[in-house]
Symmetry: C2
Subunit: 249 residues, 2 copies
């Protein structure tokens, strides 16, 4: 299997495509590919191609697509992960793992107990960083699709947008055992949603009681097991549980 590169402009066999700068550097400096060498490219929107290096020099790397390649299958259920922003590089880990597991979209959320502000996230260009991590994770796990990464929003905005959907999709809010009276264990979620679902995962300190109450108005409250899980492991545990119930695994 040839090395895989991200080429967002790749559309059809025959195309001559310029790789993004960091992908080009990976190709020339790390893997030292030369014109004529074979590679794979994926465009982040589900398409993958066999390609040949056309030009690799100081003015960038161009590749010629020559055939459509078989991309790794995507889940039938398109999951939007609405993840409370976690501290430090824990959020990076969640973006990486959620991409590997196959989510379609990642919506970072600012909750009452999130310890970073929206302004600080914007200033640190965190969304761009998470996008690079998602691309890198897609490269490694063999996915041809890179999940869409939205700008962070507040929890209240998330709840409002879930309430406003014209064709509501299931929304599943992960809560700790005992956090609310009306909870459903993950293994009782028998039905596969037809098109997609939103999965809400809280921050290190958990959801506040008012957040759980607001969330319950538009979501089912879901538990996974009887123990307290680490905030940064919850996404992997919950997605694995749901994909298993929905026969994606």
């Amino acid at each position: 299997m040839h090395a895989r590169f991200y080429a967002p402009d790749a559309h059809a066999p025959g195309d001559l495509v310029t790789l993004p700068e960091d992908e080009g550097e990976h190709l020339t400096r790390v893997l030292r590919l030369k014109p004529g060498d074979a590679l794979r490219v994926f465009n982040g929107h589900g398409s993958e191609f066999d390609a040949i290096v056309d030009q690799a020099g100081t003015r960038g790397v161009r590749v010629r697509l020559h055939a459509v390649a078989q991309a790794a299958p995507e889940p039938r259920v398109a999951i939007t992960l609405a993840q409370a922003v976690l501290k430090g590089d824990k959020m990076d880990d969640v973006v990486r793992d959620a991409t590997m597991l196959g989510v379609a979209e990642i919506q970072p959320v600012i909750t009452s107990r999130t310890e970073v502000t929206r302004a600080a996230l914007a200033k640190g260009a965190r969304r761009d960083r998470w996008e690079r991590i998602a691309i890198s994770s897609a490269k490694q796990c063999g996915r041809a699709t890179v999940p869409r990464l939205f700008e962070p929003i507040n929890f209240d905005e998330l709840v409002e947008s879930l309430g406003r959907m014209l064709l509501p999709l299931p929304a599943l809010m992960l809560v700790e055992p005992g956090a609310a009276t009306e909870t459903t264990p993950a293994s009782e979620l028998d039905l596969s949603p037809q098109r997609g679902a939103t999965v809400l995962v809280g921050p290190e300190g958990g959801w506040t009681p008012p957040e759980i109450e607001r969330g319950a108005s538009v979501c089912r409250l879901i538990t996974v097991g009887g123990r307290t899980l680490r905030a940064d492991a919850m996404c992997v545990v919950a997605l694995s549980a749901f994909f298993t119930m929905w026969r994606e695994f």
Copy 2:
């Protein structure tokens, strides 16, 4: 909820129990508890107690157990995680997460592609380190049981011991999609094993073809999804999938 401490000698209400040294230091130096203060202790074998600090000084910390407390429920299926030893602190993460998810035993395994030798593991007292991590994880997640941590063994010894069982339990070997012809997706594992199961997870470079062939003689080969997962995430993904199928979640 009072702070929880590990007290392996705690057996019954009325007992006067000395805490292990590092637990005692956590109690006196970090949480600054004094004689008469209330706490919880768990013994690592499934029992949890309400207790009172009896003595907290330079000669150690003693606590008096006064009532049996309700421990977090353990999974009905006792899982032995046979995990190929991973590089650096990745194995620490696996021990922490497997404890949090509820495994009963952890068997580190040296495989063909494991990059560390049994002698190096013994010299570095890695088993003791993993045991401390398991205790710490049990403290955090609210478990009263600490998984048993075995000394590392070679893959061949593991396969032999699985083949020698008098009452064989299911053994499930996680493999990549396409690694073998006869694989079962995790979501087709409908039946809950009656007592327990062994779950085999490979190293960073994956199992070798001869290992998959040997493993297949005593295990079912299981896949989770269609993408390549990180070696250190595989344990969480696989355990979450199995616990969901077996209605533990």
